[in-house]
């Protein structure tokens, strides 16, 4: 019972993160599903994708009324990503995962720095 309540609470947090930043929320869904609800890593990753559906649908529904959604761009991005996943699965097995993970993390730090730098240079009143 407590586990269910905690999972639901973490679900709300994942949803806020998703709506606020335009990400799926899997970063919180997957650990919640494994650590709180006891799913295996594979089942958690699969189940997280299903949980993202109502989350993204609710977020996109609200964003549509705010006029922020570029539909054509979303469709093109989504189709490109689906192709990318297929390619990623193929090469994931033939590469040293640990080194790649570190490289990706460093890349993300660089991107974060660039985003922050760009935001700080922009005048505060610009959207």
């Amino acid at each position: 019972m407590w586990a269910l309540a905690l999972a639901a609470l973490l679900g709300v947090a994942a949803g806020v993160l998703s709506g606020l930043f335009g990400v799926g929320g899997g970063i919180l869904f997957v650990p919640t599903l494994t650590l709180v609800l006891g799913l295996t890593q594979l089942h958690a990753e699969a189940t997280s994708l299903l949980a993202i559906l109502p989350t993204a649908a609710a977020g996109v529904w609200r964003q549509r009324s705010y006029g922020n959604v570029r539909w054509r761009a979303a469709l093109v991005l989504g189709l490109g990503a689906i192709a990318g996943v297929e390619a990623g699965v193929q090469i994931a097995e033939s590469l040293p995962e640990h080194a790649l993970r570190r490289l990706f993390a460093l890349l993300m730090l660089g991107v974060a720095a660039q985003l922050a730098w760009r935001a700080l240079r922009k005048p505060p009143y610009a959207s």
């Binding site: 949803g15 806020v16 930043f21 970063i27 949980a51 609200r62 990503a81 699965v89």
Partner: protein, 113 residues
């Protein structure tokens, strides 16, 4: 074409590192495709929904999806997303960029340790 490439990169990283597509799509839309923060994040969410739809369907065919557990976290998350998007409209673009940069840096550190 640029958008298709951004999507491709997002899907690739997503499959290789198990991070969601949005984490890759949002900064690339802002830095490469010159989107403003809010449309970038809203459009990313649409793309992520599409990716999750195909992904969930593929996993479901193999019987790996647990619908009950998905409902326990996903339905409360839908309410959270409504709140999150409302909050986003009240924040300035630069604030969103800085907070997102902090999120990225946090995930990067988590991946490194």
């Amino acid at each position: 074409m640029r958008l298709l490439l951004i999507g491709l990169v997002a899907g690739l990283f997503s499959a290789l590192f198990g991070v969601g597509g949005g984490i890759v799509i949002v900064p690339l839309l802002i830095l490469v495709a010159h989107f403003v923060e809010r449309p970038a994040m809203a459009t990313s969410l649409g793309a992520v929904g599409l990716i999750a739809l195909v992904g969930a369907f593929t996993y479901a065919l193999h019987g790996e999806v647990k619908p009950g557990a998905a409902a326990v976290v996903g339905l409360p998350a839908a309410f959270g997303a409504v709140f999150g998007t409302a909050l986003q409209q009240r924040l300035q673009g630069r604030t969103l960029s800085l907070a997102f940069a902090a999120l990225l840096a946090g995930i990067a550190v988590w991946l490194l340790i």
